[in-house]
Symmetry: C2
Subunit: 128 residues, 2 copies
DNA sequence: ATTCATATGTTAGTTTTTATAACATTGAAT
DNA sequence: ATTCAATGTTATAAAAACTAACATATGAAT
């Protein structure tokens, strides 16, 4: 279980994210609207945020504080790309895309764990 | 910001804990009743769990699977002690006590951060 | 100065989640 | 058969979060 993977795990409700980032719910949702973050959703449609999301939001706040507007922030985020390794390829993609994919995988893993992986100690999963 | 400190930070709602530990809400609350965990509370009285809590719960599940009853688990938890360093002393206490204290400090830190530590990047705080 | 767009605030109404508390069930030990 | 421990279930209330709409402030452009 990679560190990147762990950081992509959707865990926190919006209230916690508000506290940790000092952003309002309105702001957080607005940034999602602009696809700067793509929080996961619970079954009941509640946003669940990962540590990656927290990072992104903190950076957004930082950039806003520097007087950069949304368009600028989008650009910054789009520019910074990372590599994602599939079975057959190494794909270069934006932070946001990468986060979304990792989160997808993470949720898959959670669903797995929910049913089959009964005996496993998650502290191995979760050793921050 | 110590790792221990980070692990004591109350972040997750009970729904996430249920998924991660494969325990029911009933069980989790019952273990709290028996003070095997002491989750923090939000302003609105919702339980907020730390990674330490997750660990504890996973261990409880483990011990239950091994046929150990609550009394036994309490004993196990009480026996395993750790050191907590205050200004003037090194205090030896149970896991549960230690977790409660660290969580207390953590919430204090959160309150601080909420008001004063405006500019700080929490990813330094949170580098799992 | 007016207009316009952006970023955020605010409010209303609804749904989901969580809380407590009480009562029910199950299995093991006496 | 009774008792107790652990957990299930249900009812009810409160809190948190959702969407959507409208309001407002600020700065840029005309």
């Amino acid at each position: 279980m990679s560190r990147e993977f762990r950081r992509a795990m959707p865990l926190l409700p919006i209230s916690m994210v508000m506290q940790l980032t000092d952003l309002t719910a309105r702001q957080i949702r607005y940034y999602e609207e602009h696809e700067l973050i793509v929080p996961a959703r619970s079954e009941g449609n509640r946003r669940m945020f990962s540590l990656d999301d927290i990072d992104a939001l903190l950076e957004i706040r930082e950039l806003l504080d520097q007087g950069i507007n949304m368009a600028g922030i989008k650009k910054v985020f789009a520019m910074r790309t990372k590599d994602y390794v599939t079975n057959t390829d190494i794909v270069r993609m934006s932070d946001t895309e990468l986060r979304a994919i990792l989160r997808e995988e993470m949720q898959q893993a959670q669903r797995m764990q929910k049913t089959s992986l009964r005996q496993g100690d998650l502290s191995r999963f979760f050793q921050f």
